[in-house]
């Protein structure tokens, strides 16, 4: 059974509509960040979400933790509709930027203590202090970090602190939005090992948003590929990387820089970066798709495709 489920989730943002626009009777313009996403996250899995910047990954994650409402559709947790953040803190989020997600004026210990006090009201001071120590230990940070302020920590340490903070409520699901994108290779390896360990040893379910295809291939059990607010391919990680079926997934995988390839060998993705304002009737990838043809002007549905997974392209087989 799925632990966290997105059902037809959509989110749009109004675009500035000035007086002149109104005088000229121009219609309100909407930016569709997420357009009807169906996605179910199974207990204990690491689900990857990949896609271009602006394709709606973060918006989807914010809706998933209840930081932002959906305009349509619903999020279900343990089968029940979720309306705002889970009061028990069973769904938590880790952000890309460990710089701005921590409070610069509070020590790390105080920040963790605050979160623990919120979710475990029964715990006394000593109990909270013990839990702070346990959380630091969990993410591999020395105890003296508790007395420090965020600015005194390295990028990797700060990201460990954000993970520790997310773990304070004892979550079942962790939505991690680009948690290693700002980190260098060695620290990235440490954080990925940490996430893997939390998943394996504690059964923590992880939704891992990333644009680094190498990391996703290595870490995730399943992968959802998003394009302009929609899922265009969903499959087991191994299958998806071995034989991508949507033309966009293929382009993404081909764009992964190879450390040892000469510069010229990198394949370019065709066409313009997608425009979330553009009204495209048919396949949204058509303007950039090398395989586009007349039939692609029909709207494409995400359909299951044997032996596993689903693809939003009528021509994929």
């Amino acid at each position: 059974m799925s632990l966290l489920e997105f059902r037809g989730v959509a989110r749009r943002f109004p675009v500035r509509h000035g007086l002149l626009d109104r005088l000229a009777r121009r219609d309100r313009v909407w930016l569709h960040a997420v357009r009807g996403v169906d996605l179910s996250v199974a207990r204990g899995e690491i689900l990857g979400i990949v896609g271009e910047s602006g394709c709606g990954k973060s918006t989807l994650a914010r809706i998933g933790v209840g930081l932002q409402p959906a305009n349509a559709g619903s999020v279900r947790f343990h089968g029940a509709a979720l309306d705002g953040p889970d009061p028990a803190g069973r769904i938590q989020m880790v952000f890309q930027d460990p710089y701005s997600s921590l409070d610069p004026r509070m020590t790390i210990g105080a920040q963790l203590d605050e979160v623990i006090a919120r979710y475990r009201a029964g715990l006394g001071r000593a109990g909270r202090r013990a839990l702070v120590a346990q959380m630091l230990d969990e993410v591999g940070l020395p105890q003296e970090v508790a007395a420090k302020f965020p600015h005194a920590l390295s990028g990797g340490q700060r990201q460990r602190v954000s993970i520790a903070r997310a773990l304070c409520s004892g979550p079942e699901v962790l939505l991690a939005d680009e948690p290693v994108s700002a980190l260098d290779a060695s620290v990235q390896a440490q954080i990925i090992n940490l996430l893997r360990r939390l998943n394996r040893d504690k059964g923590l379910t992880i939704v891992f948003i990333s644009h680094d295809m190498n990391v996703v291939r290595y870490l995730c059990d399943r992968v959802a590929v998003m394009y302009l607010g929609e899922i265009v391919e969903l499959d087991d990680s191994a299958r998806l990387f071995a034989a991508p079926r949507h033309p966009y997934t293929r382009a993404l995988i081909e764009a992964v820089p190879d450390l040892h390839a000469p510069r010229e060998a990198v394949a370019a993705i065709h066409g313009e970066i997608p425009d979330p304002f553009a009204v495209v009737e048919g396949c949204r990838f058509a303007p950039r798709c090398p395989l586009a043809e007349a039939g692609c002007a029909r709207p494409q549905a995400l359909r299951p495709l044997p032996p596993s997974g689903a693809v939003r392209c009528d021509k994929a087989c």
Binding site: S53, E178, Q188, N193, P257, V266, I269
Partner: protein, 331 residues
């Protein structure tokens, strides 16, 4: 001929616990039209090196304590008074910051912000500056640029924000662009386009770029030459293909080995054990010695080893390991 030539740069921050020697004897040369990559672990001094060039320390208690920063046709930036340096910023040398939010004014529409940069340095009308801003947004592949002109920074995704920052850096056609992790917030396809765009600029206008990144894939994709930094010093430098295909310093090798590309699923990745040393009192000798699997007795004493060529490696490929032969150990 070098556009920029940094000689023995030393940069210090004064902190409560003492002087942090963030950059301690860095030398590098950048030619016109070249993209020079700087990689290394967080805190190794990449940003401090580049911020020293324009003395952009954002109010931090930092100073260039020694060395020269020679910009072709301009002189030694390290010796230049602040007022003269202000003329170099943006016009000759532009800076793209790691965090796009610090570079953007949250209360100003982005079209206006780009136009302001142009108006500050060029005699053009507001309307012309706005047109130029539109063109710059188009150059960095912002879609529907007419609509985005009136957006505030918080309304843009991280990738879009960084493209706006890049557009601002390109506005005055500088000879050198210093880009501190410019594509860290972007996904591969957008990153790919931004890097191509920067590459095009270099090839067509002779603009040079110093690109700081922790992503070796990015270096491989666009840079001509590169330097690997560790604890305030360069430990390996050379043509990108040489350094990535035939790394000779144990630290470079360990960094490459930590990447998931080389690991099989289900096995832990291999980070470098321990963490980089503090820079108030770095260890004597080779600073990597406390974490190096190949360290010998004599690695940990004396002055820090300098960059030297190795017999059999390509010209310009230098490293700072004292071993005459660096064995290939699985880290």
């Amino acid at each position: 001929m070098s556009l920029l030539s940094i000689r023995n740069l030393r940069t210090e921050f004064s902190g409560p616990a003492g002087i942090v020697r963030a950059v301690d004897g860095v030398s590098l040369d950048v030619a016109p039209g070249e993209i020079f990559g700087i990689v290394g672990e967080s805190g190794c001094g990449k940003s401090a090196t580049c911020r020293s060039i324009l003395r952009l320390f954002g109010g931090a208690p930092a100073r260039v304590a020694g060395g020269q920063i020679l910009l072709d046709g301009v002189g030694d930036l390290a010796a230049m008074p602040e007022r003269a340096l202000a003329q170099v910023r943006g016009r000759e040398v532009a800076f793209i910051f790691q965090d796009p939010l610090t570079a953007l004014n949250p209360t100003m529409r982005i079209g206006r912000q780009i136009a302001e940069v142009i108006l500050r340095h060029r005699k053009v009308s507001r309307a012309e500056a706005r047109q130029a801003a539109l063109g710059l947004l188009r150059d960095v592949h912002v879609t529907s640029p007419e609509r985005r002109l009136d957006a505030y920074p918080h309304e843009l995704s991280g990738g879009l924000r960084q493209r706006v920052v890049i557009a601002m850096a390109l506005a005055l056609r500088p000879r050198l662009i210093i880009a501190d992790e410019p594509t860290t917030a972007l996904d591969v396809t957008v990153q790919d386009q931004i890097l191509r765009l920067l590459r095009e600029r270099c090839d067509s206008t002779g603009t040079a770029i110093i690109l700081i990144t922790h992503d070796l894939g990015v270096v491989s994709q666009v840079c001509d030459r590169m330097a690997v930094m560790y604890a305030g010093r360069i430990v390996e430098t050379g043509a990108v293909r040489e350094v990535l295909d035939h790394p000779s310093h144990p630290y470079t090798r360990a960094l490459l080995a930590a990447l998931p590309g080389q690991a099989s699923r289900g096995r832990d990745l291999v980070p470098i054990e321990g963490s980089p040393p503090g820079l108030i009192a770095p260890p004597p000798g080779c600073r990597f010695a406390p974490r190096c699997r190949l360290a010998r007795e004599d690695c940990g004493s004396g002055p820090a080893p300098g960059l030297l060529p190795r017999p059999g490696t390509a010209p310009g490929h230098l490293d700072a390991c004292i071993l005459s032969e660096v064995p290939d150990v699985a880290s």
